[in-house]
Subunit: 108 residues, 4 copies
Amino acid sequence: MSVSEIAELQALIRDFADRRDWHRFHNPKNLALALCGEAGELAAELQWLTVEEAAELSGDALIRLRQEAADVAIYLLRLCDVAGIDLGSSVRAKLAINEIRFPAPSAG
Amino acid sequence: MSVSEIAELQALIRDFADRRDWHRFHNPKNLALALCGEAGELAAELQWLTVEEAAELSGDALIRLRQEAADVAIYLLRLCDVAGIDLGSSVRAKLAINEIRFPAPSAG
Amino acid sequence: MSVSEIAELQALIRDFADRRDWHRFHNPKNLALALCGEAGELAAELQWLTVEEAAELSGDALIRLRQEAADVAIYLLRLCDVAGIDLGSSVRAKLAINEIRFPAPSAG
Amino acid sequence: MSVSEIAELQALIRDFADRRDWHRFHNPKNLALALCGEAGELAAELQWLTVEEAAELSGDALIRLRQEAADVAIYLLRLCDVAGIDLGSSVRAKLAINEIRFPAPSAG
């Protein structure tokens, strides 16, 4: 059976942390602070742009957003790894809940 | 070729938004606000716990953290979809950059 | 000499925490998580509004934003109280730094 | 009658923005993104510290936290100014609500 892409990324991040002995920092509270830090950096990339400018990023601005999105993902994936959360199935389960909470008008 | 897990989740989220005509809300700035909102809700789940309590979540507390992690993922995946960011390769690229910025003591 | 408004609000918040024996929860890391949580709730109030709608809030939407702004302030004031930070003079000092970092086009 | 400390800080921040013609950037949604950005930077200052280390900050680490707290305050004060929110009375009103929601064990 093939390993999922998410599990694969988590293994890369775990290995990265392992080789630096960073487990001791990676508890859920610390990782939640780091996640908020990175979500904030991502927000800061877009804060003064118009809606239109933010929707048409290119060049350096897109590269920076890409890096911030990666940073958010890294801490989210690490948090889930540490807390024993299967992120892929959690997303599917949440979408199923949302499907009921927010019924689609007709469904296409 | 098989579709990646991340692309698959993005397709589910895109379809969810499509059927509700929510594209118009899903621009990068709005999604960044939503991402910060969900990162904040995740933080709130852990805020008053001790480091030890947060590291041994179970039962309802773990289910709530799981749901918040899913919400963060949903908006991050949607933002990347809308902005044309390949999240999986961005994570790999960022880890490669971090590998240079933070050299491992010995490396395995 | 009169007590500053900020110090007065901090005394109210401190007293509120004291009467519930909530000091033990109010360390800087927990308060930073709470601050991010409330900043996220404030963001969520505005996330799907247009720029124009968000700039002309009234009624319940304004009341909710008001409450979220208060929550952010409460945790920020509490964090500063706990960490021994004089918030008023910190703001003045930061504005002085910004005055140099971002010179105004003309007027001084 | 004396102007409140909060109103005074808001006037300084407003003047700072005015002299740079930054009104056009300072709508509630942009300021909410900026607030989340600064709350995230504050979180990042504490993320890898132990609870004890974060509770005993001094020197450069305290100066950095002080600056981040000021940045959060600046955007919160500016947002309230722009949205017509009286932050001082909002905090008092929210504490009054919390007094009812979370009754103190005994003392009044």
